[in-house]
Symmetry: none
Subunit: 225 residues, 2 copies
DNA sequence: CTCGGAGTTCAGCCTCTTCTCAGGGACCTT
DNA sequence: AAGGTCCCTGAGAAGAGGCTGAACTCCGAG
């Protein structure tokens, strides 16, 4: 197993690499986004760990560029603790997983193993459940042959639901993922946006793909509605 | 049954061990992560209770190290009250189950019994007895192929019963687990909710999985009805 | 500057859940 | 068989949770 680490903070980067090698994982460190894109094209990596804050190109850009270049290596993004929308945006730009800083090293290794196990088929650019699909590249949803425009918030929310079909996701988790952990507004915002989504992806098609789990949150029907 | 408890807080650790021994479970206490890894390699333990906050190695690390060393003993992690992400990470690093602090002792014993019974098979997120299953992820029950929606109260109650199939559980314990120790309403509430559950999981299937133990409480038929 | 889209807040309405209560039934003891 | 205790269940009140339309802010495009 061989991993590319793109991280400009030298201390963090070297400690990640040292730790990975202690686990028997080969690790290569690069310190900026441009080099990251260059090295990322090397198909011999089993996974890429990518910080968001980078000199040159930021992590989102690196990720998007790699995907645009046809690289399918699994990418795990390191997001800032208080970075609102970072995580949804990470998935949005083609990352396969993310880890919020500060993160536990053990968890990093576990996630990398999981990603590498899934291999390159993990990333398709499209999240699909039944006839409902979310295309990260065109930033739109599709129900069958019908394209659906979504706002960024709607997109982020739907991405979280589609990533775990069948799983009931608590409202507070949805807020954390889409609006950020430091969101202090009205939690009712989730219901409002679920309402928007239903009017776009369910009502016009007489479907009920987003199920309410009263007292908990929402669940994506694994059959897509 | 023999359990290893890894907990640095001496009061909590000894009270867990004393409580377990009162239940006829042999318990051994160690106070730091490094000793935890050493003792955890002893295959004679039927389960390991592991706190996350530990001196030396934290709980995630202990868990990962044990798994890396090929130890398959079921591990139950104790997670902080407000650490929602801890639980996902616990499962990620190889734990079989988790319990959020502060926890009820009865639940701890129940979970340990469930884990030990399952043995090294691992945590699936699903409690299953006969053809009756409780899926914690989708937050639903299933009888055969039929999905059953449950309210949060019904879900919690059924979870307790399913965790200890065949064991008669006292009504007062059910109240404590589901409604909390400070519940001061009508104890008849248990009967009412047992009734709700029966109407959802038994009557439509002509089963009798929840048995009344007169004068005591209720028991889950280990055959699932 | 104006317009429109996106994001958010809020209040009212409606539905479902929770809980209480009381009557009747089941079971046990004497 | 009588009486007592325990359990079951239907009805309904109270309240929490969820949905939605309306209005407001913010911001960028034209």
């Amino acid at each position: 197993m061989k991993v590319l680490v793109v991280e400009d903070e030298v201390n963090l980067g070297t400690s990640i690499c040292d730790g990975l090698e202690a686990e028997g994982i080969e690790a290569e460190l690069v310190g900026d986004g441009i080099t990251g894109v260059e090295r990322g094209n090397d198909a011999s990596f089993d996974a890429i760990v990518l910080d968001i804050m980078l000199p040159g190109l930021n992590g989102f850009r690196v990720c998007a560029d790699l995907r645009a270049a046809g690289v399918t290596t699994p990418i795990l993004m390191l997001t800032a603790k208080d970075g609102e929308l970072d995580e949804a945006e990470a998935l949005d730009t083609g990352a396969d997983d993310f880890l919020r800083k500060p993160f536990s090293f053990v968890v990093l290794v576990a996630r990398l193993n999981a990603l590498a196990r899934r291999g390159a088929r993990g990333y398709s650019g499209i999240l699909e459940v039944g006839d409902l699909a979310l295309d990260r590249e065109s930033h739109r949803a599709r129900r069958g042959d019908v394209s659906i425009d979504l706002t960024p918030r709607e997109f982020a929310l739907l991405a979280i639901l589609l990533a775990q079909p069948g799983k009931a996701i608590r409202k507070v988790d949805l807020v954390n993922e889409v609006w950020g952990a430091d969101f202090e507004g009205d939690p009712n915002i989730v219901e409002v946006y679920i309402g928007y989504l239903r009017r776009k992806i369910d009502l016009p098609f007489s479907r009920r793909s987003i199920e309410t789990v009263r007292g908990i949150g929402y669940r994506m029907d694994p059959a897509g509605g």
